[in-house]
């Protein structure tokens, strides 16, 4: 590089002022390079890929509406007498936190709307995370190289629940206070350290005067910051890994088929933000959520009927409701060295959630250990093509739903005019046998769908046209599929069980035997995709009937 080239460098001068400013900025931060890189990122189009976006947009809406609420909310537990516009609570003694929540609802312009936006967005946030995770699980998108991102996503789910719970308690109304008392009970049930943790958390005996302020700090500072950090990690990994895609002709682990981010996908995604915002705003405008004025101020003595947590904590509440206090003469409470061990609180509160989250976090590694599959996967499985995984997922989902339903057992009883006790007995039974039934049914359904696919691939689609042959036989005319549709039905892997293999020392370890056993369990029931030879045979068998005909219909059976 010499003086001559330096003189040629400023060859490009933008014509407009805006262009010159853009050029100035670009020369300093290199935005066009980034834009080129991101703008060319390809996203496959499928409706089920958009739930992560829904969660992200709900989170943005939560930040915006939450910021508005912090302007008016006062997290103090000091006692005051209500002096706002809601007459049925006039002059009632309450905490400043509850009083300021009521003021947001009745005396701040747009306050009630913003409160409802915030709460509906919170419910939608966790719900969309849940649906997003179900999609990822059932399509096998957690497989290599995305295991870490699955873990980050699971952490996000837990953080979202934490954000929801800390927010739920802030208004200090009777409902949230009852919820907090349940949490206090669960904490106190933890052996030895429980009472200490409870006293540290509440700054003394429940409810104390500190907890709302502490939860507020967690709710507006720590938890959102962690969520933001995890979202950045999550999206970063999405960019690094590229997006997964459903199987289809021309799609393989080496490519991504879809639209580039810019401009089509960016426009769609941007527009989708406003759609999500619009849906939440309409819900907030027309449907009330958490009517705190109905519940009254928190006071440890009253407990309202129909006290439930928000839906995402519901499964823990449901497990607590299902746990019997005693079974016959067998009781769950022991006094050991002067410490009371309350298993009838500890077991339901921690064990089901513990199992659920442990399996969720570890599942990618569990499956790759069983299948010995260490390849990268960018093409998704259709749920039916991984019957055992699908069955495991459905069993877990049903288990969750049983506990979830138990949280509304009283409403099931009153609305369907059945006995609350019977509802509890049924749900207790389903807690154990529900997942088993779900596993068997889901696996059989998946296998049946695979057989149907195979049948269609081999013999074509039933047209409903019945033809009588010269010798009197009736047959239904089957139309063959076009190649693109057939690819979808035959283009998948169906691994067979991997038997135990000896290690380098020639020994079949016990662990390897266990793996082989699980591998058999995982893959023994399988429907192999139709092979090219079978397809050839399938069509060849009926070929004479179609070759001469004027239409390319194949006849079968």
């Amino acid at each position: 590089m010499s003086a001559a080239s330096r003189a040629e460098a400023p060859a490009f001068v933008a014509k407009t002022k805006a262009g010159r400013i853009t050029d100035f900025v670009d020369a300093r931060v290199g935005g066009s390079g980034m834009l080129r890189e991101f703008g060319r990122k390809v996203f496959p189009d499928h409706w089920s890929f958009m739930f992560g976006e829904v969660a992200l947009y709900s989170f943005v809406i939560l930040l915006l509406s939450g910021t508005f609420l912090t302007f008016f909310f006062d997290p103090s537990m000091a006692e005051t007498r209500y002096d706002g516009s809601y007459l049925p609570l006039k002059n009632v003694e309450m905490s400043v936190a509850y009083s300021s929540s009521l003021d947001i609802s009745f005396d701040v312009r747009g306050g009630l709307f913003m409160r409802q936006v915030h709460h509906w967005a919170a419910l939608l946030f966790v719900a969309s995370i849940g649906v997003h995770m179900l999609r990822v699980f059932f399509t096998g998108a957690f497989r290599k190289p995305r295991e870490m991102n699955w873990v980050v996503g699971s952490v996000l789910l837990i953080l979202a629940m934490a954000a929801g719970f800390t927010g739920y308690s802030l208004p200090d109304d009777l409902l949230s206070g009852n919820g907090l008392r349940i949490i206090d009970g669960v904490i106190k049930a933890i052996p030895v350290v429980g009472t200490y943790i409870s006293f540290f958390l509440f700054g003394g005996e429940f409810p104390g005067t500190a907890v709302i302020g502490r939860l507020y700090m967690l709710h507006i500072l720590l938890v959102p910051a962690l969520i933001l950090l995890m979202i950045v990690l999550h999206l970063f990994m999405v960019v690094v890994h590229k997006h997964t895609q459903y199987p289809g002709p021309g799609r393989n682990d080496g490519n991504v088929v879809g639209y580039p981010l810019g401009p089509v996908y960016a426009a769609k995604a941007g527009g989708f933000f406003f759609i999500v915002f619009g849906v939440i705003a309409l819900m907030a405008a027309f449907f009330t959520i958490n009517p705190i004025w109905n519940y009254g101020p928190y006071d440890p003595s009253p407990v309202s009927a129909g006290t439930q947590p928000d839906w995402y904590i519901g499964f823990v509440d449901g497990a607590l409701r299902l746990m019997p206090g005693v079974i016959g003469d067998f009781h769950f409470e022991y006094v050991i060295f002067g410490y009371t061990l309350t298993l009838n609180v500890l077991l339901p509160a921690l064990v089901p959630a513990g199992i659920l989250f442990t399996v969720m976090f570890m599942y990618p590694w569990i499956e790759s250990w069983i299948t010995k599959d260490t390849r990268e996967h960018h093409v998704l499985d259709r749920p039916r093509n991984a019957p055992t995984r699908t069955a495991i997922g459905v069993a877990g989902f049903v288990w969750y739903c049983v506990m979830w339903a138990a949280a509304g057992s009283d409403l099931i009883a009153t609305h369907f005019h059945v006995s609350l006790n019977d509802v509890t007995y049924w749900l207790r039974a389903l807690f154990f046998i529900g997942p088993v039934i779900a596993f068997v049914v889901a696996k059989r359904v998946a296998l049946a769908l695979q057989r149907k696919d195979r049948e269609i691939a081999l013999h074509g689609r039933e047209t409903g046209r019945i033809v009588r042959l010269p010798h009197g036989e009736f047959i239904e005319v089957h139309a063959p599929l076009d190649e693109y549709k057939r690819y979808k039905l035959v283009g998948f892997e169906s691994p067979s069980p991997l038997p135990a293999v000896p290690n380098d020392h020639g020994i079949v370890t016990r662990k390897e035997k266990q793996r082989a056993f699980l591998s058999k369990w995982f893959f023994e029931d399988r429907v192999a995709p139709a092979t090219p030879a079978e397809l050839e045979a399938g069509h060849g068998h009926h070929a004479p009937a179609v070759e001469a005909g004027e239409e390319s219909k194949s006849l079968s059976h």
Binding site: L123, P291, W293
Partner: protein
């Protein structure tokens, strides 16, 4: 005094003392319970009402409650339940009962106001019990905020803080209180129908009951400031709504966004 101290070791002294003690406690208890009872006033019932009521009773109620309302295997004795209980049970259609079950359901009243009045008169004539509340207690002009506090402490654990009702054990339930008249709410408190406990006048004063009725009527009239209340059932209804309606609409949009015009 000397006589007393001499006689105190008499073999019958213990029995005398015991008798005295029993009489005093029993007497005090009798006084105390009647003091706390909402006063029965049969003044507004004429002899004709009572006579007509007896006929109605014999024709419609005696099958279960027995002749003279003395009770049978199928129904309790109604002696001393008072006019309030009859006015509530018959006025809300719970009695005559449609079928045996954990709890009688509210249904269209089977008797008109005059007949209900006559039945009340008859049952009230059988023994003292809570009376139908007077008009000034039902004027809904009490202190709603105080009524709300009383409601949350005494009623919300079964009827729900928003008076939306709740489940009890084995098919029993506390009904929702919207659309229940102030008179019937008051009568329910003093008579304790079905599985409800009695809230006598020592427990919740007549003014307190007036406040509770005022509160319930006021929240009913206020409606739901935040839009449709989804049954005022709390987080379960809200969760169901966000999963079905919220996510449903969102999914419809995602399908629309990713559909191709092919």
């Amino acid at each position: 005094m000397k006589a007393l101290s001499q006689k105190r070791r008499h073999p019958l002294a213990v029995i005398a003392l015991l008798l005295m003690g029993l009489l005093i406690t029993g007497g005090l208890y009798a006084v105390a319970t009647t003091v706390n009872q909402a006063k029965a006033s049969t003044t507004s019932f004429s002899a004709n009402d009572t006579a007509e009521g007896e006929k109605l009773f014999a024709a419609n109620c005696a099958t279960c409650h027995g002749m003279g309302a003395s009770g049978s295997q199928d129904g309790p004795s109604l002696v001393g339940v008072g006019a309030a209980a009859v006015d509530f049970q018959v006025g809300t259609g719970r009695m005559p009962m449609q079928m045996n079950g954990p709890q009688a359901y509210k249904k269209p009243a089977q008797f008109n106001d005059d007949q209900t009045h006559q039945l009340s008169a008859y049952v009230a004539s059988l023994g003292a019990g809570p009376a139908i509340p007077e008009e000034h207690l039902l004027d809904e002009q009490g202190d709603a905020a105080k009524g709300g506090e009383l409601f949350r402490v005494n009623c919300a654990m079964c009827h729900n803080a928003a008076a939306a009702g709740g489940a009890l054990t084995r098919g029993k339930f506390a009904p929702a209180l919207a659309d229940v008249s102030g008179k019937h709410i008051y009568e329910a408190m003093v008579s304790g129908p079905q599985n409800m406990p009695v809230f006598n006048d020592a427990n919740v004063t007549p003014e307190g009951k007036r406040d509770i009725v005022t509160f319930l009527k006021q929240i009913e009239a206020n409606g739901s400031p935040g839009g449709a209340d989804l049954g005022a059932l709390g987080p379960v209804a809200e969760g169901l709504f966000v999963w079905v309606a919220g996510l449903g609409v969102i999914i419809a949009f995602t399908i629309w966004l990713t559909s191709r015009t092919s």
